[in-house]
């Protein structure tokens, strides 16, 4: 509840501060401070201190699961601001609005992670999506940015339609929007299954799972890189939380019906994401496909539907978001987005190269990084179900494929010579990157630092 109100208020504040504060840097500091406040307020709620008590009429439930994921998301956004706030300002002239929109998205995130009614889920997903359409097109003079925005909007609107339709069908079958009651009333009838499948499709669209991923590469590539970073990490994780919550709480008893669907979607997502990423020439586009591939791994948590899966998603969302935010932050500083643009970076900027290498190793799932534990947990959760073992084997083979394109960047940075050029970077930026790399390694050695929050 703290985070919900605060994020909405902060969004409004940021909107008006654009008028009052003339200095760009003040605005940036205000946004970062506001976000830190949001993070702290959410942590306080986890330890039982709430500032607001409003009756939400059993439409939302701020349980440990939701709050914990909110914390991870807010923390990632905080890191994102520290690294990239300066680049947000550079995107266009309405910089205050960008920050405001991001806060509104966070408000939607809180709705989406804490819903117990499908209506709130719908609201949350829409509040996340609409500002994103704007942010995607924020580079107004760039044709590709406009194209991406339009494409995203049209396809997004379509998936929203599917979602509404699904919710209506489910209401028709169960007579309620409440997830717990849907689960009680759930029986594998046509109406219910059709509604569930529609919801499955629309959520799969939002997390860019195959075969609903076609928008992703173009939108991620066309959007200004700072916002791609935000979309591919924080937003994706939030939708995943909503996804897992929906299927655990509303359709838990229909697992027989949907499990094989999710398994197939997972396999398709892993295949398409990884194989296509291999052929990319631009690092930004490679990261777009890699985000599809990583979504494939996260889908395994939904497939498994056990505690291992929830733990896995938690650690996955932290490890994946932090590493990807780090890479994007470095990418923004590069003059050339192709693989060759990274040639020789290790000579010019050893620190930048070393931290990027750690982020890439984490994404590839090499032990000692958070990414390994995340993948490990996902595999564990699927094996724990005792079924569909082929999915595990397939997933590790695809993980091996992913090494190919992540290591291409490492090879370019370390083993090839070239004039990798970066725009000047501040000591704060470097410091944050190092802290981020340390955090990822800590997560890889002591994952329980994060996981234990589930239980205490």
């Amino acid at each position: 509840m703290n985070a919900l109100i605060l994020s909405a208020v902060l969004g409004v504040i940021m909107m008006f501060s654009g008028l009052l504060l003339k200095q760009k840097s003040n605005l940036r500091h205000l946004a970062t401070a506001g976000l830190f406040l949001l993070f702290v307020a959410n942590l306080l709620e986890m330890s039982g201190i709430t500032f607001f008590s409003i009756n939400v009429g059993s439409m939302m439930h701020f349980d440990r699961f939701a709050l914990l994921f909110n914390s991870v998301i807010f923390f990632s956004t905080f890191v994102y601001f520290l690294l990239s706030a300066r680049d947000i300002e550079r995107t266009g002239s309405y910089y205050a609005e960008y920050f405001a929109l991001i806060f509104f998205i966070l408000c939607g995130v809180v709705l989406a992670t804490s819903f117990t009614s499908l209506l709130i889920l719908f609201l949350g997903i829409e509040i996340i999506s609409i500002p994103l359409y704007i942010l995607t097109g924020s580079d107004k003079k760039n044709l590709r940015s406009n194209e991406a925005s339009l494409k995203y909007f049209l396809l997004g609107a379509f998936s929203t339609g599917l979602m509404l339709m699904g919710i209506a069908l489910i209401y028709g079958s169960a007579g309620s929007f409440d997830t717990a009651q849907i689960n009680v009333a759930a029986k594998p009838g046509t109406l219910m299954i059709a509604g569930m499948i529609l919801l499955l499709f629309s959520m799969a669209f939002k997390v860019s799972a195959a075969p609903f991923h076609f928008w992703t590469p173009d939108v991620y590539d066309g959007a200004p890189t700072v916002f791609t970073s935000f979309m591919a990490t924080i937003v994706k994780v939030a939708v995943f939380v909503a996804f897992i919550r929906l299927f655990y709480e509303a359709f838990g008893r229909l697992q027989q019906q949907w499990q094989i669907w999710i398994a197939l979607i997972t396999a398709a997502t892993l295949l398409i994401g990884n194989i296509t990423a291999v052929f990319q020439q631009s690092v930004k586009r490679m990261l777009a496909y890699s985000s599809i591939a990583q979504a494939g791994f996260m889908l395994m948590a939904i497939y498994a539907m056990n505690m291992d899966g929830k733990e896995g998603l938690l650690i996955y969302s932290a490890a994946y978001s932090l590493a990807t935010i780090g890479i994007f932050a470095v990418l923004i500083k590069m003059n050339d987005y192709t693989f060759d643009g990274f040639n020789g970076l290790a000579k010019q900027e050893p620190l930048l190269a070393a931290t990027t290498a750690i982020f890439l190793l984490s994404l590839a799932g090499i032990p000692l990084t958070g990414g390994f534990i995340a993948k490990f947990k996902m595999l564990e959760s699927v094996i724990a179900t005792g079924k569909n073992f082929w999915l595990v084997i397939f997933a590790v083979l695809m993980a091996a494929v992913s090494v190919y394109y992540y290591f291409r960047v490492i090879q370019a940075m370390y083993f090839k010579d070239g004039p990798a050029r970066v725009i000047p970077i501040s000591p704060v930026f470097k410091g944050t990157l190092v802290a981020l790399a340390v955090l990822i390694i800590l997560l890889g050695i002591f994952p329980e630092l994060l996981l234990n929050w589930f239980y205490f």
Partner: protein, 495 residues
């Protein structure tokens, strides 16, 4: 305490080495670190007897029932000793080699040593997997940064190969984890995992492929000759001397005792693969003109013999394997030292361009001939002890019906080994002095020191191998008896 020290010393000194910018001092630092590691390993082997020094356990990931648990038994002792002996030898032998960014080079070398130590002492499956990968990452960076012209592609192939293998192994380990009593990654829990024989049958391949790639066993060997050829020689020494032993170690520690039924049932299949690989590699070695490639193929043949012996499940053979792990490690490092020196002096590794070197470098010739004779397992050399035990083991194996065939075919490879090794010596050291050799001098003190130590070890183990055999006596009996005494297997054996 000893196993923790063995990991920590190279790990911490390796991390420090990143920041030692002066080339001379970083070399000294790395050498000092490796000598201390060797000292610790020797102390553990000779002075300390109390078992509390050899096992350690710290809480790590409680929710997964995985702990930082390490222990040193006979098998770990001999491999840690090899690892500890190998690195000082490598550092001394390559003392004169100049590296760009020497600090990174030596730091990564030490980190690789730490990773391999961890593999050899881990008593927890997850920890084992961690170290297994950690040893690989420094190797990847070392080969791709300091290797030959084709290094990037070749090393990448090596990395992908081993990474695929280790991911499959991870899946296998996870599956076993879910069938252990009380869900734990501890090694004793793994040894008591409740797996049906059908599950064992396919789990076997998930694990075996990972180890087979590392060793390497035919047909998973294709990464190896290229990688050995393209890597800087110091790294090749570490890879072939120590890292391939990780694969053999994996079989002995994590495959045979965990999946005993499958190990016995698939034994003939894997032995056949290994024998095919041995003959194939030996024949290719005969054709090679490049010293490095020749030694690489010869290594495939030697490791293949170990694999055959392991699956013959015989106690005498198992003893042979364990001592041969050590022997092969130091012998091949010796061969590489020679190859490295020749390449550095003559600027070529081609046998056709060499000749008559014995006249110019008599000291090298003496050392190198002794090592080469050890490579073909002549009596009085260390490899004779190991290979004799191994052949005895294969021949008297009761686990397979084909022991005679395996013995004969593997024996052929010994003859082939004599062909290519003696040819190697003849072409390098005898005959007319070639143009490339005419300006050469003899080896210096640092090479003499390293080669001298190796030759002393070769002769020592060749004449008096009892102290070494005693280290591994118990563990090899444990491994073999653990399988052949199982009631499900015992009744099928051809006693």
């Amino acid at each position: 305490m000893i196993p923790v020290l063995l990991i920590l010393i190279p790990l911490l000194t390796g991390l420090v080495a990143f920041f030692v910018k002066n080339e001379k001092s970083v070399k000294g630092w790395a050498l000092a670190s490796s000598v201390i590691t060797l000292a610790v390993s020797l102390i553990g082997l000779t002075v300390l007897k109390d078992p509390e020094y050899f096992a350690q356990r710290y809480e790590w990931m409680g929710s997964l029932n995985s702990s930082f648990s390490v222990k040193l038994d006979g098998l770990s002792q001999i491999l840690c000793l090899l690892n500890a002996v190998a690195f000082p030898l490598i550092f001394i032998a390559t003392w004169k080699t100049v590296y760009a960014k020497a600090n990174n080079f030596f730091a990564l070398m030490l980190l690789m040593q730490a990773g391999m130590m961890g593999v050899f002492v881990a008593a927890d499956a997850l920890l084992f997997y961690f170290f297994w990968e950690l040893a690989l990452i420094p190797a990847y960076f070392l080969c791709s940064q300091w290797g030959g012209p084709r290094r990037i592609q070749v090393t990448f192939k090596f990395f992908i190969y081993t990474f695929v293998g280790s991911l499959l192994m991870l899946v296998g380990l996870l599956y076993i984890y879910f069938h252990t009593p009380g869900r734990s990654f501890d090694i004793t829990a793994f040894y008591n995992a409740a797996l049906t024989s059908k599950e064992q049958d396919w789990l076997f391949w998930l694990l075996f492929i990972a180890f087979a790639i590392k060793m390497p066993i035919f047909p998973f060997h294709t990464w190896q000759p290229d990688t050995y050829e393209q890597s800087p020689t110091a790294v090749t020494m570490a890879l072939s001397g120590v890292m391939v032993k990780m694969g053999v170690f994996g079989l002995l520690r994590w495959l045979l005792p965990v999946l005993p039924l499958a190990s016995w049932r698939w034994g003939d299949t894997t032995s056949t693969l290994a024998v095919v690989g041995m003959i194939y590699a030996s024949l290719i070695a005969i054709q090679q003109d490049d010293i490095k490639r020749l030694v690489a193929y010869s290594s495939i043949a030697h490791i293949g013999l170990m694999c055959v012996t392991i699956f013959s499940l015989n106690n005498i053979g198992m003893q042979g394997v364990m001592i041969q792990l050590f022997n092969h490690g130091i012998n091949i490092i010796g061969l590489w030292i020679g190859a490295e020196w020749i390449e550095r002096q003559m600027g070529t590794r081609k046998l056709s361009e060499l000749g008559g070197l014995a006249q110019k470098a008599p000291a090298l010739a003496i050392f190198f001939v002794v090592i080469a004779l050890a490579n073909i397992a002549l009596p009085l050399t260390n490899a004779f002890v190991g290979e004799f035990l191994m052949f005895t083991g294969i021949f008297s194996s009761i686990a397979t019906h084909y022991s005679l065939w395996f013995t004969v075919l593997a024996g052929v490879c010994i003859i082939l080994a004599a062909v290519y090794t003696l040819n190697l010596i003849r072409k390098i050291f005898y005959g007319n002095v070639s143009a490339a050799v005419s300006a050469a001098g003899d080896i210096r003190l640092s090479e003499k020191l390293a080669l001298g130590v190796i030759v002393i070890l070769i002769v020592w183990i060749g004449i008096y191998s009892q102290p070494f055999l005693r280290i591994t006596e118990d563990i090899s009996a444990d491994i073999t008896n653990g399988i052949i005494n199982r009631p499900e297997i015992a009744r099928y054996l051809t006693r």
